[in-house]
């Protein structure tokens, strides 16, 4: 499992062109898609039921975490099957600060991000020594250990043990006529957009190019004077901070944190979302999030007893149909249409 074989073929095409053109889809088309998407995103919460709004918010929260994972795996080539841990840390940071520190939710958000950044950075240090599959396992170990640690006696006074903690959902401030579900939807949307904007710029910057150089060929990257250790650990930190923000948001949206919400199943789910959405694609994260929220429900409806098998079958089917993820499929279709016209 070498670093080269891991990345899909996507970034290879069009090297040397300006950054915006690399993906192959013209910038104008991308902007138009973004605009239409935004209009739909703003209009949706006024047209659907509260439960659907809650689901859409969850999609965006997953998308934020997947985006973080994508920065790490897709752009820096480091595996993680342990991002549920950082979501848990973010969620518990918010819950504990609100419960015991009397903090408001908005004040806890940057603290959760910062704390996750630090933990992620520190975990990135031992991760430096591990390559591909070993790193995947070490992070997987982290994911498996997390619920046990949260339940364990030394942490129980703070984490509430198995029972977890209740969290209050903030209402819309300043008398804005939105219910709390709609309000949290918009809060998540804005935070998600900011984070996506940050990710796009990060990837397009000198730092982003260094990250990708390390992914594609660490030895050549080092020869070019890139400080591999610094970039890798920082990317780990940033990625963990994204997951932490997602965790913090999920704590207030679900209004509850408990150890069993953060099992390795969540970590594997994020990984699946990353691959399904498209490794190395920023908009793909949204698709990955939607997959995580809706496909298990679809599988459940196909067959109650065989929900797991149906989920697995759908997963296999998706992998066959689009091995480069949803983003790869969209890119291929758009390119085909454009080429035919030209």
């Amino acid at each position: 499992m070498t670093d080269q074989s891991m990345t899909s073929e996507a970034p290879a095409q069009g090297r040397g062109k300006p950054v915006a053109e690399r993906a192959g889809i013209p910038v104008g088309l991308k902007r138009a898609a973004l605009l239409i998407g935004l209009i739909i995103a703003i209009a949706l919460p006024f047209m659907v039921k509260n439960f659907t709004i809650f689901q859409l918010t969850t999609v965006m929260i997953y998308a934020i975490a997947i985006l973080g994972l994508n920065l790490l795996t897709g752009f820096n080539g480091q595996f993680s099957l342990g991002h549920s841990t950082f979501i848990a840390i973010g969620a518990y940071t918010t819950a504990i600060l609100m419960e015991f520190g009397g903090f408001g939710f908005y004040a806890t958000l940057p603290l959760a991000a910062l704390f996750c950044f630090i933990v992620g950075f520190l975990f990135g240090l031992p991760a430096l020594r591990l390559e591909s599959i070993y790193l995947a396992l070490a992070t997987f170990a982290l994911a498996v250990a997390t619920p046990q640690l949260l339940k364990s006696a030394p942490f129980e006074p703070w984490t509430g043990g198995v029972q977890g903690l209740l969290v209050f959902k903030p209402e819309a401030p300043f008398g804005i006529p939105l219910n709390s579900d709609q309000w949290m939807y918009f809060v998540t949307l804005v935070i998600g957009l900011v984070l996506a904007f940050f990710a796009v710029n990060l990837v397009g910057s000198r730092t982003g190019r260094a990250m990708m150089a390390i992914r594609d060929n660490p030895i050549a990257a080092r020869a070019m004077g890139i400080n591999i250790a610094l970039y890798k650990t920082t990317t780990f930190g940033v990625s963990a901070a994204y997951a932490g923000i997602a965790g913090s948001l999920s704590a207030v949206v679900v209004q509850f944190v408990a150890p069993d919400s953060f099992t390795f199943v969540l970590a594997i789910g994020l990984f699946v979302g990353l691959v399904i959405g498209g490794v190395g694609s920023i908009p793909g994260a949204l698709f990955g999030g939607a997959f995580l929220v809706y496909v298990p429900n679809i599988a459940e409806e196909l067959s109650k007893g065989l929900a797991g098998a149906a989920y697995g079958a759908i997963l296999l089917l998706v992998i066959y149909l689009m091995p480069a993820g949803a983003a790869g499929l969209v890119r291929a279709i758009v390119m085909k249409v454009l080429n035919r016209r030209a």
Binding site: M1, T73, I133, G308, L315, P323
Partner: protein, 292 residues
């Protein structure tokens, strides 16, 4: 002191389980250079097949070998149908396919045989060996079978043409193809063997942990731990790693007060991380040197 000896022995007994699983993991890792997350569920499914055969009235040993044969064929079929089409897909897609297989087997087993816990017979008997109360006959049998399996694998890979071909296909597919090794089938063979070893592991483990669709999850994680501690590429290392994990888990559970029973899993994982920190390729692994 007696407690200590007892814990070591019972650690070795559980270690035998992990060693068996680690062996299966290393087998598949050698063939395809991926970790198969569905390995445990495949082993569980095989064990259910054995259970079904015994329910239908087959004698234990016939069911045992029949299950091994079925699992071998099943492993080959899975490789040919599920993974061969994904040959050119990125590695991350393969891992997702493993996850899909995991979900499918778990759900199917629950659907066919339901989630109630079943007991599974042991061919060795549950009585204590030599009346010492330290280690049961089944545990001993399990360790012996694991060691025999290891010996057979060693002979197979070292002294048969097909074993040599499999090693060649794994270490350098392109060159192997040039000298006439059918690499695709060698990979399928690796899957079949891994499934068969998994079936043996499952059937030996089931009398201890009881048979149910989720029986393998913790064992798979310990198996991974054993395989990683051993270095992933060495079958002997995997067996030693498996035993080491079992012993460390038991000792920590007994002597470190905070750990107790429910934190045992965390200990095994701390062990993985600790070993990887000091020896990033495991105790018996070799560092891959790449040419630039």
């Amino acid at each position: 002191m007696e407690l200590f000896a007892h814990q070591i022995l019972s650690g070795l007994a559980t270690g035998g389980i992990y060693a068996c699983m680690a062996l299966a993991i290393v087998m598949i890792y050698q063939a395809i250079h991926h970790l198969n997350f569905a390995q445990g569920e495949m082993a569980m499914f095989s064990t259910f097949i054995a259970w079904q055969l015994i329910e239908w009235g087959f004698p234990y040993w016939i069911a045992f070998f029949l299950t091994i044969a079925i699992s071998f064929v099943g492993g080959v079929v899975i490789e040919r149908t599920v993974f061969k089409p994904l040959h050119r897909a990125p590695v991350l897609a393969h891992i997702v396919a493993f996850i899909a297989l995991f979900a499918i087997f778990n759900s199917l087993a629950g659907f066919i045989w339901d989630f109630t816990i079943k007991s599974f017979p042991t061919p060795f008997g549950q009585q204590s060996l030599f009346g010492s109360g330290l280690i049961s006959a089944h545990d001993t049998g399990m360790i012996v079978v694991t060691l025999v399996l290891l010996g057979l694998l060693f002979l197979f890979f070292r002294h048969t043409r097909i074993g040599l071909a499999m090693r060649a296909a794994a270490s350098n597919p392109d060159s192997a193809r040039l000298v006439g090794v059918r690499v695709g089938w060698m990979i399928a063979l690796g899957w079949g063997m891994a499934a068969a070893i998994g079936a043996v592991a499952g059937m030996l483990i089931a009398p201890v942990v009881f048979l149910e669709p989720n029986m393998m999850l913790a064992i798979l994680i310990y198996g991974f731990a054993g395989a990683v501690v051993g270095g992933l590429i060495s079958p002997g290392g995997a067996v030693i790693g498996g035993f080491a994990v079992g012993v460390v888990e038991n000792l920590a559970g007994t002597y470190v007060p905070v750990v107790g029973q429910e934190m045992k899993l965390t200990i095994a994982l701390a062990l993985i991380v600790a070993v990887l920190m000091f020896k990033p390729t495991g105790l018996f692994g070799a560092r891959l040197v790449t040419r630039v």
